[in-house]
């Protein structure tokens, strides 16, 4: 499914995703002096993104193992890079 069409078909789901990322970015900058909280914000937003992806693909009817693995790999990559550079 293409990018724009997906957003147009499920505006509420993508709005929720935007909200999750915006809150995560705001909290990350707000707690810029506290690496302990920043780390939890990254973990929390990654877990929320994963849950969002499960819900999104379940609703879409294409929740397959390959898609779950794809999301997990993107999240693992992000966590490894942030762990090595931000903390």
């Amino acid at each position: 499914m293409n990018l724009i069409r997906a957003i147009r078909q499920k505006p509420l789901e993508y709005f929720i995703l935007l909200l999750i990322f915006s809150i995560a970015a705001f909290l990350f900058i707000f707690y810029r002096s506290d690496h302990f909280i920043q780390r939890r914000i990254i973990y929390g937003s990654s877990a929320t993104y994963f849950l969002w992806s499960l819900y999104h693909h379940y609703r879409q009817g294409d929740l397959h193992l390959s898609i779950i693995i794809e999301y997990l790999l993107f999240i693992v990559l992000a966590l490894i890079v942030t762990a090595a550079t931000l903390f």
Binding site: M1, N2, L3, I4, R5, A6, I7, Y14, L17, L18, F21, A24, A25, F28, I29, R32, S33, D34, H35, I42, S45, S46, Y49, W52, S53, H56, H57, D62, H64, S66, I67, I69, E70, Y71, L73, F74, I75, V76, L77, A78, I80, V81, T82, A84, T85, L86
Partner: protein
């Protein structure tokens, strides 16, 4: 060869209409490359300690000036510079280098107050701020002011004197500059107002290593991460554009979701400030 590049970056029927770079096996390769890069950096810091590190232009005078500027902005009297407190601050920094730790209390059980006592500073109240890996004094003082506990030390009305240690050395195999602020009020109430030693005097006395320009391991990790994320986001955008154009249907994760997630991580990497405070 051109066809392989095309398969790497563009959706095509030969790559199941998904650029190879975006496929789980290639994301796995990215993870492996990044972990390999990190292990190389770690091995290098063990094999050749002090080659990688953080350069710094922090001076005692600048730390003193900016600390007192913050107090002035909050209508508080300036802190008087005390050389005894500076020696205890430098002792603390040297202790962190020699015992390879980064904390208020040492693994041997030494507290910050032990360093005050060793140098003979009798205090009624005292405090400590720590910072490492900062390049400039402004960013470091801003980081302290953004942290409620460090800010409370800088703006504490009970403190009358300050000592500052700016020491270069090797911590965890990485060359860096540690900055220690020791705050206090003398028990006898007699305030001294010493002139800060010049940095050459301070460094000559306490520095175990020169602050020569070095390659920052954090910068290497950050650059590799930014390149990877930039590349993946770029290919995801191309992928989104071409799937709209070709009206392709396929089984894959949400490109919009991935772009949003990776973009937010990329943004955090780009805006993340230098250095660490404790």
């Amino acid at each position: 060869m051109k066809f392989i590049w095309q398969l790497l970056f563009f959706p095509h029927e030969k790559n199941n209409h998904r650029a190879l770079i975006l496929q789980p096996s290639f994301i796995g390769i990215f993870i492996a490359i990044y972990l390999f890069n990190q292990s190389l950096i770690k091995s290098f810091t063990i094999a050749r300690p002090g080659v990688l590190g953080y350069s710094s232009e922090i001076t005692v005078q600048k730390v003193l000036d900016l600390t007192n500027k913050e107090r002035q902005l909050h209508n508080l009297p300036p802190l008087h510079f005390n050389n005894t407190l500076s020696l205890s601050a430098a002792d603390k920094a040297n202790d962190m280098f020699s015992h390879n730790y980064w904390a208020h209390n040492s693994p041997q059980g030494k507290t910050p107050w032990d360093f005050f006592r060793i140098e003979g500073y009798q205090y009624s109240v005292a405090g400590e701020n720590l910072a490492k890996d900062f390049y400039d004094t402004e960013s470091m003082v801003t980081a302290w002011m953004n942290s409620p506990t460090h800010k409370a030390n800088i703006l504490n009305t009970k403190y009358q004197e300050i000592g500052i240690g700016v020491v270069n050395g090797v911590l965890d195999g990485v060359k860096t500059t540690l900055v220690v602020q020791h705050f206090g009020s003398p028990l006898n109430g007699q305030i001294t107002s010493d002139a800060p030693l010049s940095d050459s005097q301070v460094l000559a006395e306490i520095a175990p290593a020169s602050p020569a320009l070095t390659i920052s391991p954090l910068q290497i990790s950050k650059t590799v991460g930014i390149i990877m994320f930039g590349l993946i986001i770029g290919v995801l955008i191309i992928d989104g554009y071409l799937t709209i154009k070709n009206q392709t249907h396929r089984l894959s994760g949400s490109s919009a979701g991935h772009i949003g997630f990776l973009a937010i991580i990329l943004l955090l990497l780009l805006v993340n400030r230098q250095g660490t405070i404790f």
